[in-house]
Symmetry: C2
Subunit: 431 residues, 2 copies
C-alpha cells in the first residue's frame, strides 16, 4: 500500500486498541498478582543520569543505551532497566519504610538492539524486588511470585520451569581452581555464554584460566554442587506446593555484573524461546549506587512483555484465557442509545449522561442517522443493549442485541432498570 | 542530610508508593470515565521521529524538545504531546475502525521547561479524541467527558468552568479587519498571549495589523461574537445538564498551531492555576501528518496530572475523596499470617499460597521473629487480619486487628473462612 509518510521508529510499537488491550491484560495480571502477594507499587523516571547505568550494569548493556545530552548539557539515558533506579530510590527513601521492602513496578525500558521476534527497542517490564532481607526466604518469596504470575496467565505444571543457580557456587569453584578474585567477573561472563559460544572459542577462553570445558560441564552436571541457599529455596517452594516448578541449573549465571548470589530464569519447558523472566540477588548494588551511604541486601526479578506474550499465544490454555479477557473487555460500551426521533435528541443526551453517571458505559450516535444504521453502530461497538428513544418517550424500548429480544421501560427509572438488567444474564433463564 | 550520590534529574519525579498510589488514582479515574463514555484505549511510542513534531506543532514546543540522534543516526524526540502520534496512528490504521473513532490514551510526555509548581519536565497526560466527526456534537461529547472527569474527581458546580471559544470567530474578525490569510497564525498567537503580554508590547504587536487593543478587547467582550458551533455545543451540553459548566471566552485561542475551530480550556473557578485541561478541533492535522493520504476531521483534549492534582489537594471535597481511595488501597495485604511456631513454617507457607491463589492478599514474615514483632509487621502492613499458625495447627486463630477481637477456625477450610470473613464488616454488627 502507499504508506502514510510517518511510521513508528524501528523496534517501537503502536498500541492500537487491540494491542493496547493485550498490554492491559499483562499489566492487570501482573499488578493483581503482585498485590495479592503483598507487594506495593512504585515508579521511577524513564530518563536518568547516564552514570547510574555505567556505574553498575557493565557489559553489553552500556553499548545499547539511548544516551544523549539534554538541553542543560546533562549526560542522560532512557532507562535500559529499572533496578538501578530502584536502588537509587531505596537509598534515598528507605528510612520511611519498614523492612523488608516488597516493591513492584510496571514500566517501559529502552535498549538499542536489533529488532527481532521477542525483542524490540522498547519493552514493558514487570519488576519485583525484596529489599532488606538477605536470606533465601526472600529469594523463594520472589520465585513464588514469579510462579504465581505464570499460573495467573493460565500456565500449568509442565508448561514452564524455573532454572536456578547460585553465583556463590561458581565463585567457590573459581577460587578452588585458582582463578584470581578480580578475574571472577570475566570468568562468570564466559560461563554465562557457555551455551551460545563456539566450542573452540569457549575452550580457548577457559584455557586462559587453566580450565577445560569438560571441567566446567562436569561442575554444572553435578547436583551436589547446589548451594545451601538453593536447597533452602527448593524446600521453601516445596512447602508451598511449587517444588515441581524449580530445577537446579548451574549454567545460569545471568549477564548483568551486579548479581551476587542466587540467580534464576524462567523458561518454557521446550526452551524454545528466550527466558520469560530472570533475576537474582544483588546484595551490593544499593551500597554501590549510594556510595556506601545505605547498605541493604536485595533480590529481584523482571518479566518482559514480549516473550510472555509469545508464550501465551503459543500455549492454547493460556491463549484462551487471554482471549476470554479480551472479549470481555472489547465492548466500547454496554448500552447504545438509539435516537429514533431526532426531536428527542436532548432527552437521549440526558439519558446517556445519567447512565454514565451511574457507572454504566453508554454511547450514542453523534449525528442524525437512520435507525438501522444506529443499530449497526450498536453492534459494532459490541454493546449488549440498544436503548431506543423515540416519539413514545418517556417510554423506552430495550433491545437485547444477542438474543434480539425486546423489553419496555420508562425513562424515569432508566438508571435502575439498566443497572438491574446489566447484572442479569441475557438469555432466557433456565428452568 | 548527607544525600545519596544519585538523584532524579531536575523536573523528573520518583513515584515512591504513596506518590504512585496518587498517580494510580488519577489513571484509574481517567480510565473508568473514558470507558463509561464509550472511548477505547490506545498507546503510542514515547520516542518518535522528530519531524513528526516539527511538521505540525510550531511555536514554543519545538524549543522544548528532548531531541537527540539515536545510535542509527535518526533524529528522534521524546514526545512532548500525543496528538501528532495519534494522527500518525489514525492515518495508518483508520480503515480497520468504524467512524467516528473515540480513542483515549494515558501516558507520559516530556518538555524541557523550567521546573516549577504545576510543571515538570515530564508529566502524565490523559488524551481523549474523536476522529472522523466534524460537527459540534463531537466537541460537545468531548467537553462532556472532560466535565464527567471533573465530577468523578469529586468537583462540583462552582469549582471549575469550561471556557470555550472558536478560532473561526477570530479568523472572521481578522479577515474583516484586513489581516492577510498567511498572517492569521501570527495574529492568533498575539491573541493567545493577550492576558500575559505587557500592554505596550501588545499594542505595538497589534498595530502591525492596524488593530488596537481596544478593538480586540471589545470583540472578546461581545457575547454576540459566539460562533454557531459554540452555540450548538452549549445547547448540547445544556441538554445533558451541563449548561452551567460552560462559558464563552473568546480570549482562548490555544497555543498550538494546528487548532482549526472550537477550542476550550478548563479552569478552577478562581482561575488561580494554569488550565486543568485544554483542547479543541484540529481538522487538518491527520491530512498534514499523512501528506494528504487520509483526511479526517478531529477534535480532542488533554488533561495533565500536575494541575489536576494540585486542584484536588486544594479543594476539600475532592481531596477527601482521593484520601478515601488512597486509604482503601494503602494496605500491603489483607491477611498477615503470623508464624507462632517455626516448626509450622511449611504449613504457614502453604496457607499463604492457598489464600493468594484464592485472590486474597496475604503475606508473612520471611524470617523467624517473635510473635509480638510479627503482629507489629501485620499492623504496619495495614492488614485487616492476623492469622496465627502455631502448635495447635491445623487449628488457627484469627485476630481482627482493628477491634482486637479473635476467632478460631481450621486450616482445612481457611480459604472459605477468610473469603467469607473479608466480605463482612469488622466491628460487631449493629442490632
Amino acid at each position: 500500500m502507499a504508506g502514510p509518510s510517518f511510521q513508528a521508529l524501528p523496534g517501537f510499537r503502536d498500541f492500537i486498541p487491540r494491542e493496547c488491550a493485550v498490554r492491559n491484560y499483562l499489566f492487570e495480571t501482573w499488578r493483581s498478582v503482585a498485590r495479592r502477594c503483598g507487594y506495593v507499587e512504585y515508579e521511577s523516571p524513564i530518563l536518568e543520569d547516564t552514570a547510574l547505568y555505567l556505574k553498575k550494569s557493565g557489559g553489553e548493556l552500556s553499548a545499547q543505551l539511548f544516551r544523549f545530552e539534554d538541553q542543560g548539557g546533562r549526560d542522560v539515558t532512557l532507562r535500559p532497566e529499572v533496578t538501578a533506579s530502584l536502588a537509587r530510590l531505596v537509598a534515598q527513601h528507605q528510612r520511611d519504610f519498614p523492612k523488608p521492602l516488597k516493591w513492584f513496578e510496571i514500566g517501559q525500558c529502552f535498549r538499542y538492539e536489533k529488532p527481532q521476534k521477542g525483542r524490540g527497542r522498547e519493552f514493558h517490564q514487570f519488576n519485583v524486588d525484596i529489599i532488606g532481607e538477605g536470606g533465601p526466604a526472600a529469594d523463594a518469596e520472589l520465585i513464588a511470585l514469579a510462579i504465581e504470575t505464570m499460573l495467573a496467565f493460565g500456565f500449568v505444571a509442565g508448561d514452564f520451569v524455573v532454572r536456578a543457580s547460585d553465583r556463590h557456587a561458581w565463585i567457590e569453584f573459581a577460587s578452588r581452581h585458582g582463578v584470581a578474585e578480580e578475574a571472577i567477573p570475566d570468568f562468570l561472563n564466559i560461563v554465562d555464554k557457555i551455551e551460545r559460544e563456539k566450542p573452540e572459542v569457549l575452550a580457548q577462553k577457559l584455557a586462559a584460566f587453566s580450565l577445560s570445558t569438560a571441567q566446567v560441564r562436569e561442575f554444572i552436571a553435578e547436583p551436589a554442587n547446589a548451594s545451601p541457599a538453593y536447597l533452602a529455596i527448593r524446600d521453601d517452594l516445596s512447602a508451598r506446593g511449587f517444588g515441581d516448578f524449580i530445577e537446579l541449573d548451574l549454567s545460569i549465571v545471568r549477564g548483568l555484573a551486579y548479581y551476587t548470589g542466587v540467580v534464576f530464569e524462567i523458561f518454557d519447558s521446550k526452551k524454545s524461546m528466550r527466558a520469560v523472566a530472570g533475576g537474582g540477588r544483588y546484595d551490593t548494588l544499593v551500597a554501590t549506587i549510594s556510595d556506601g551511604a545505605v547498605d541493604l541486601p536485595a533480590s529481584g526479578f523482571a518479566m518482559g512483555d514480549y516473550v510472555i506474550r509469545n508464550l501465551i499465544e503459543e500455549t492454547t490454555h493460556a491463549a484462551v484465557r487471554m482471549e476470554v479477557w479480551l472479549q470481555r473487555n472489547a465492548a466500547a460500551c454496554d448500552v447504545f442509545v438509539v435516537v429514533a426521533d431526532e426531536c428527542k435528541r436532548p432527552e437521549a443526551l440526558k439519558l446517556v449522561t445519567d447512565l454514565r453517571r451511574a457507572g454504566i458505559s453508554a454511547d450514542l450516535s453523534l449525528t442524525p442517522a437512520k435507525v438501522a444504521k444506529q443499530f449497526q453502530s450498536a453492534e459494532k461497538s459490541r454493546a449488549r443493549f440498544a436503548l431506543v428513544v423515540g416519539t413514545e418517550y418517556p417510554e423506552l424500548k430495550l433491545k437485547i442485541l444477542a438474543s434480539r429480544t425486546e423489553e419496555s421501560g420508562n425513562a424515569e427509572s432508566a438508571v435502575d432498570w439498566l443497572t438491574d438488567r446489566l447484572q442479569q444474564p441475557d438469555g432466557p433463564l433456565l428452568a
